[in-house]
Amino acid sequence: VQDCILLKKMEISVAEAEKRTGKNAVNMQETYTVYLIEMRPVDAASEGTNPVPDSLWRRYSEFELLRNYLLVTYPFLVVPPLPEKRAEFVWHKLSADNMDPDFVERRRVGLENFLLRVASHPDLSTDKIFYSFLTEENGWKETVFETGFQAKADSRLKALNATFRVKNPDKRFAEMKHYGDELQSVISQLLRVRARAADRLYGVYKVHGNYGRVFSEWSAIEKEMGDGLQSAGHHMDAYAASVDDILEEEEHYADQMKEYLFYADALRAVCRKHELTQYELEMAAQDLTSKKQQREELATGTIRTFSLKGVTSKLFGQETPEQREAKLKMLETQIEEGEELVKERNAECEEFVKSAWVDIERFKEQKDHDLREALISYAIMQISMCKKGIQVWNNAKECFSKM
C-alpha cells in the first residue's frame, strides 16, 4: 500500500552528476548535465545486506517537467521548488556559469532536496508519476504527456496570467498571498546584500595575504626581528586563505534561503489558483442569476434586462407564443445545467480551500522549523569563523612577541 510516505520506506539520493553530449530537439549538438538518482530500501542498511540501489539518470529539464505536472495536478498544494535554473545573487568569485563544477554540485544537492521534500509530503509522495520518475528511466516522459496535464496547464496558465477581480475575496488567502509577496521581497533583499557583503569580506581577508609577503621581504633585512616576522607572515597567509572555506559554507546558507524564496512563489501560486477557482464560481453564479432573470422576464413579459433578442423582437415584432415557449424551455435547461455547474464549482472551491489550508498549515510549520534551523546553523558558522580568526591572530601575536 502506497499510503505511507515514500521516504519512510526508501532512501532517495541524487548521488552524482555527469556531463553528456547529444543532439537536442532541433538536431543541434549540445552539452548538458545528468544526475544520478538512487533509491534503496531503508531496511537494507539495518539488515546488513547491501543491495545494488535502483538508479537512473535524469537531467534538469526532466525535473522541471515533473514539477510542472505536480503543479497542475495538485493546484491546492504548496509544491516544493527546484533549485534555481540560473545562478542568481552571484558575487564576483562565484561563477554564473551553469557548467561550473561548484554550481553543478550545489544543484545536485538542491535536486536531492527537492526529491526528499516531495517524497516526504503526505499527498505528493503517493503520486504515480513521481514514483515512475524515480524508477522508469525510459518512457517516463511519454507517460507524463499521456496524462494530458499539458492541456490543463495551458488553460490554467492563461487564466493565471489574466487579470480578474474576485467580488468576495477570501481574507485568509488574501493575507497568505500578501505574506508570500513580503517573504519573496525580503529574502531577495537578504540574498542581494549578503552577496555584496561576501564580496567585501573576501577582499578584507585576501588583502591580509599581502602582509604575508611584505613581512617575508622585511624579515630578510632584519636580524633579531627576522624570525618572528617571517612566522607571522605565514599566519597572515593562512588567514587570507581561510576565507574560501568560510564563504563556501555561507553559500549553503544562501541556498537554504533561496529554497524559501522559491517556496514563497509556490505559496503565492496556490493563492492565485484559489482566486481563480473562486472567480470561476462567481462567474457561474452570476451567469445563473442572469439566466433566471431572463426566464422571469420571459414568463411575465416584463423586460428588465437588456437583451438583444428583446430589442430585435421589439423592432421586428412580437414573437409567437410557440417561439416564447421554445425559448423558455431552453432557458430552463440552461438554468438546470447552470445550477449543476454552480454546485460543482462550489464543491470544487470548498474542497480546494479545505485541502489548501491543510497544506498551508503544514507548510507554515515546516517553514518555521527549517528557517529557525538555518538561522542557528548560520550563527554557528559565524562562531566558527570568529574562533578561527582569534586563533590566527593569537598565533601571529605570539610571533610578534618573539620579535
Binding site: R372, C386, G389, A396
Partner: protein, 396 residues
C-alpha cells in the same frame, strides 16, 4: 642611573668636539647584547671591543660604571605631554599642551614642573638639539604643516594624534643619555616663558646652516657599515610604505564591508516584523549583525588612529636621519661622529624593535578583541534560538 650618582657624560651645548665622550650606554648594550657585538665592542666578559677609536676606551669605562643602571626603573626623569587646550587671540588661534616633568636630577631646580607649550616650542627645541648635538640622531616631530581646508587642525582626532607624537618625542629625548642633559631641553621643561622670540628668526637660520654643515657628516663619511645602514634605511622605508598601503587598503575594504553589514542587519529586522514564531530569532540575528558592525567600526577606527600614525612617524624619523649635503668632510672629526652615530643607531634599532613589537602586537590584539566581541554576540544568540526550539518541541 641611581639618584645622585654623577653622570660624567653630561653634555651642555657647545664643547670642543674632542671633549665630547662617546656616549655608549651600558643600558642599551645590556638590554641588547646582540647590538654590542654589532658595534664591534667587547666587554671583559667576552664580547668584542674596538679600541681603535679614541673615544671608545673611555666609553668602556663608562660602560662598566653604568653597568648597574640597567632597567627603566632607575630612570630619574619622567616627562608627559597632556591636556591640549585651544587658545584664541586676536592674532591667531592655536593649541597648547601641558608638559609635566618629574625628576630627581640635580640639574633641575625643582622636582616637578608643569608648563604649557605649543608646537612652535617643540620645533624650537628640536632645532636647538640638532644645532647643539650634531653628532646625535634627534627624534622626529610630527609634521609641521597641515594643509588648511584638508585637515582640521582643531579636530579632536588631529590634536590627539599630535599630542601622542609630541609625547613620544619628549620621552625619547628624556631617555637619551646625552640629549636629556641638554640645557635647551632643561629650559623647555622648566622655563615659564621660553624667551626665544627675539633670537628665534636669527637662530633658526643659523640652525639650518649648522644642520647642513654637521648633518653632512652623518652619513657622508661612509665606511662600509654606514653604507649598509643607508641601504637598510632605504629598504626599510620601502617596506614601511608597503605596510602603510596594505593597512590603508584593509581599512578601506573593512569600511566597505561595514557599509554592507549596516544594510544587512536591518533586513532581518524588517523580516521579523511580519513573522510570528520566527520574530524573535530574526530579531536576534539582526542584533548580532549590528553588534558585529559596531565592533568592526571600532577596529577600523583604532587602526586608523593608532596604527597608521605610528607607522608614518617611523618614515618621518628615517627622513630626518637622511640629510642631503655637499659639504667637505673633515677627516679627523669623522670617527667621533661615526661612533656617536653608531651608538644612536643601536639605540634606534632597539627602540625600533620594541616599537614594532608593540605596534604589531597591538594590531593583533585589536583584531582579537574584534573577533571576541563578535563571538560573544553570536554565542549568546544560539542558546536562545535552541531553547525556543525545545519549548516548541514540548508544546507540539
Amino acid at each position: 642611573m641611581s639618584a645622585g650618582a654623577p653622570r660624567s657624560l653630561a653634555s651642555s651645548g657647545q664643547k670642543s668636539i674632542q671633549d665630547i665622550c662617546h656616549p655608549l650606554s651600558a643600558e642599551e648594550s645590556a638590554l641588547n647584547p646582540g647590538s654590542a657585538a654589532d658595534t664591534g665592542l667587547i666587554l671583559p666578559n667576552g664580547t668584542p671591543v674596538d679600541t681603535s677609536s679614541p673615544a671608545s676606551s673611555s666609553s668602556l669605562l663608562n660602560r662598566l660604571q653604568l653597568d648597574d643602571d640597567l632597567d627603566g626603573e632607575t630612570r630619574d626623569l619622567f616627562v608627559t605631554v597632556e591636556d591640549p587646550k585651544k587658545h584664541v587671540s586676536t592674532m591667531e588661534t592655536y593649541i597648547t599642551y601641558r608638559v609635566c616633568t618629574k625628576t630627581t636630577r640635580t640639574e633641575f631646580d625643582l622636582p616637578e614642573y608643569s608648563v604649557r607649550r605649543r608646537y612652535q616650542d617643540f620645533d624650537w627645541l628640536r632645532n636647538k638639539l640638532e644645532e647643539s648635538q650634531p653628532t646625535h640622531l634627534i627624534p622626529p616631530l610630527p609634521e609641521k604643516f597641515v594643509m588648511k581646508g584638508v585637515v582640521d587642525r582643531f579636530s579632536e582626532e588631529f590634536v590627539e594624534t599630535r599630542r601622542k607624537a609630541l609625547d613620544k618625542f619628549l620621552k625619547r629625548v628624556a631617555d637619551h643619555p646625552v640629549l636629556s642633559f641638554n640645557e635647551h631641553f632643561n629650559a623647555f621643561l622648566s622655563a615659564k616663558d621660553l624667551n626665544k622670540r627675539q633670537g628665534l628668526a636669527l637662530l633658526t637660520k643659523m640652525g639650518e646652516s649648522v644642520k647642513y654643515v654637521t648633518g653632512g657628516y652623518k652619513l657622508r663619511a661612509r665606511p662600509a657599515e654606514f653604507a649598509a645602514m643607508g641601504d637598510y634605511l632605504d629598504l626599510f622605508t620601502q617596506k614601511m610604505g608597503t605596510i602603510d598601503r596594505i593597512a590603508q587598503r584593509i581599512i578601506k575594504e573593512q569600511s566597505e564591508f561595514l557599509m554592507e553589514l549596516r544594510e544587512y542587519g536591518p533586513v532581518y529586522s524588517s523580516w521579523s516584523s511580519f513573522e510570528e514564531d520566527l520574530h524573535d530569532p530574526l530579531e536576534g540575528v539582526s542584533g548580532c549583525v549590528s553588534n558585529c558592525s559596531s565592533a568592526l567600526e571600532e577596529l577600523t577606527e583604532d587602526m586608523s588612529e593608532d596604527f597608521l600614525p605610528v607607522l608614518r612617524e617611523y618614515v618621518l624619523y628615517i627622513e630626518s636621519m637622511k640629510v642631503p649635503s655637499d659639504v667637505e668632510k673633515c677627516q679627523d672629526r669623522v670617527e667621533c661622529f661615526n661612533a656617536d652615530l653608531k651608538a644612536d643607531w643601536d639605540r634606534w634599532e632597539n627602540n625600533k624593535r620594541q616599537d614594532f613589537r608593540q605596534l604589531l602586537t597591538g594590531m593583533a590584539n585589536k583584531n582579537i578583541q574584534h573577533y571576541e566581541k563578535c563571538l560573544a554576540a553570536w554565542e549568546s544568540l544560539v542558546p536562545l534560538l535552541q531553547d525556543k526550539q525545545e519549548a516548541e518541541g514540548e508544546t507540539s
